[in-house]
Symmetry: C2
Subunit: 373 residues, 2 copies
């Protein structure tokens, strides 16, 4: 399937918000479309916790991306007009420097020696990529889920770096329900004996014991999927439909309902494709994020420090992880700061993941906004 | 603190819904108040998954019960008027026969040899206790959470066994969101190496290896608490308040926010006080429950087979585990069956657990209903 990733070398040292620094670090990214002569048509996408920079298929990597139906010629994010960049978050293991990367100081993977990571660092690293591409100001910065929080940090820490912003299913700060969920996900990983305080077998190692926190990662992923979707969607989709006898496992208390099999499928596709320590770092960075830190304890005042021309803020009523009320706070804050803001509240049944599933409504909103720029 | 439990010996064999049977089984229960001469003032309470029969303090056990503020002389469930019975569910380890009990056939604990348990069996066992006390018809049957499902089974399987019913924060069938949560709780226990396929150390055993699924039970309990409460309550209660440095643990990715410490406290009070195999059996029984089985696949038709005179159905808008819409279904079904039904939709912020916390509103509703009987 090829590989469309490019890599940007971050300056050394790359200083981080909470006091650490990285040397020789890099950020993976992909691009679609052409940067125009004035460098004024760039759109940057910041991702959720687990997606890679491969947001859409590419001549060099024809596999479908995680937002395939949104990005391309004639699509909502129209690559015939825009030069689209998607960055793999610093700390994620999809090409950017992360806890599974080799620490040049030791020649060994960082593991838990990776410095404390914040979404401000994710934002700074993404900004460095954009600046490195010769782009002084983005036409639009799009942030989805965790990436929406990174996007707020990006605009606040780099004034004038974006003319417009699309905020998708995100929040201006982590609230206790989301913290509780993520804390429990981290705990499932940390308490798995296979995690070994972060010293599990990162790569197949014939001399190691092969320990890996498969169980913890599976539980974390299933809990994630439960909170990414909605009860309403599942009532329609799974109801109480049972698995056929041959689809069941023979374990005591094993899977019996379709919804259990659906969760298992999600877990199996995730475990061993995402580095557990990287997951822990990004998860905690999400808990730490709070725009109120920049507004003397007030979310509204923090948001008021972000100066852009226009914004669209989208969320869904069925999202239990990033509730609609938090999108409303973002819209109000950006508006108070002087931006022209459109607030789009959708009733998509899919919950937080609606931006990945309800392409019809998200396309209409995002495509419409971008066309009017 | 004494012990106010009484025990009722179930008939041998006690036949169970899914084909198994128990021999020499018993049910623990407690009572408050006096049974009148006509045996017409009995109120039975069926509990959620984890509570014991100790719903309120008692001369023989003065420790506060799990519904202490609701039950007593002059309280909503007025023991000056009613003879109140609370039964420990069959399969629960608080005195009733459960997977941790000795199987008379082997002289060893049942563990996973305990027969498949359904809420219909829980209902049948409770009905046997009531009949054994010489009560032909309850003045009122109250069921909370899982106990509300058991109560529906009780009334359906034993026509004429209750004149009135109070349904509290429950459901006529398990929906996929609740199944997903409970399935993940069971998985956390089953995948804990300390569970040992159910062969963990039930009681302190100096010759055993002491294996116990502490981690799995802790994760299961925390996930439970997350779904028993509500995001709204926690925004007001915990917000983003951090622990004092001396309250934090030194573990990597350890607790930092108050909400994390709150969950840990709940888990510590639960682990080692509830038998893991019993938890698995009752959890799965909850998933299996579906009143539609008695209505040719229709919840409404199933409920229509329950014949009582009056009912009150209560739920809260913030309950994500047993959503208000499911209480509405119960109210509509019982009404269609001919009962006079009051439907009470509360806005208590505490979520599913509101019946244990928002005593003011639940007292008013339940006390008012009972006074009008």
């Amino acid at each position: 399937m090829g590989d469309a990733r490019r890599y940007f070398e971050l300056p050394t040292p790359f200083k981080m918000k909470r006091g650490g620094e990285l040397r020789g670090a890099r950020v993976a990214y992909e691009t679609w479309g052409e940067l125009d002569a004035s460098h004024g048509n760039a759109v940057l996408i910041l991702t959720g916790l687990s997606p890679s920079a491969h947001a859409a298929s590419h001549a060099e990597d024809t596999s479908p991306g995680w937002w395939e139906d949104m990005i391309g010629p004639g699509k909502a994010i129209d690559t015939a007009r825009w030069f689209v960049i998607c960055v793999n978050s610093l700390g994620s293991d999809k090409g950017s420097t992360c806890p599974a990367s080799i620490d040049p100081a030791s020649g060994q993977p960082y593991r838990l020696n990776f410095p404390e990571l914040s979404l401000e660092d994710v934002a700074d690293a993404a900004h460095a990529v954009v600046a490195g591409l010769g782009i002084a100001q983005l036409a639009c910065l799009i942030g989805c889920s965790m990436g929406g929080m990174s996007a707020l940090a990006y605009m606040l820490l780099h004034p004038g770096s974006a003319r417009a912003h699309i905020s998708v299913d995100t929040a201006p700060q982590a609230q206790p329900f989301a913290i509780a969920i993520r804390s429990l996900q981290r705990e499932a990983i940390r308490l798995d004996p296979g995690w070994k305080d972060g010293q599990y077998a990162i790569h197949a190692d014939p001399h190691g014991d092969g320990a890996y926190p498969d169980i913890g990662m599976s539980i974390a992923r299933k809990l994630g999927v439960i909170t990414y979707r909605s009860a309403m969607e599942w009532n329609g989709r799974f109801a109480r439909i049972r698995l056929d006898p041959e689809q069941r496992d023979d374990e005591p208390f094993g899977r019996e309902f379709q919804v259990e099999s659906y969760l298992e499928g999600h877990a199996q596709r995730f475990v061993r494709t995402f580095d557990p320590n990287s997951y822990l770092y990004l998860s905690r960075a999400s808990d730490w994020f709070d725009i109120a830190e920049y507004g003397h304890g007030s979310v509204h005042e923090g948001l008021k420090r972000i100066h852009i021309e226009r914004a669209m803020v989208i969320g869904v009523s069925t999202d239990i992880l990033f509730p609609l009320q938090q999108q409303e706070e973002i819209a109000e804050g950006l508006r108070a700061a002087g931006a022209e803001v459109e607030f789009v509240a959708l009733d998509s049944p899919q919950g937080h993941d609606a931006f990945l599933v309800d392409i019809e409504n998200y396309s209409k909103a995002i495509g419409g906004f971008l066309r009017r720029l």
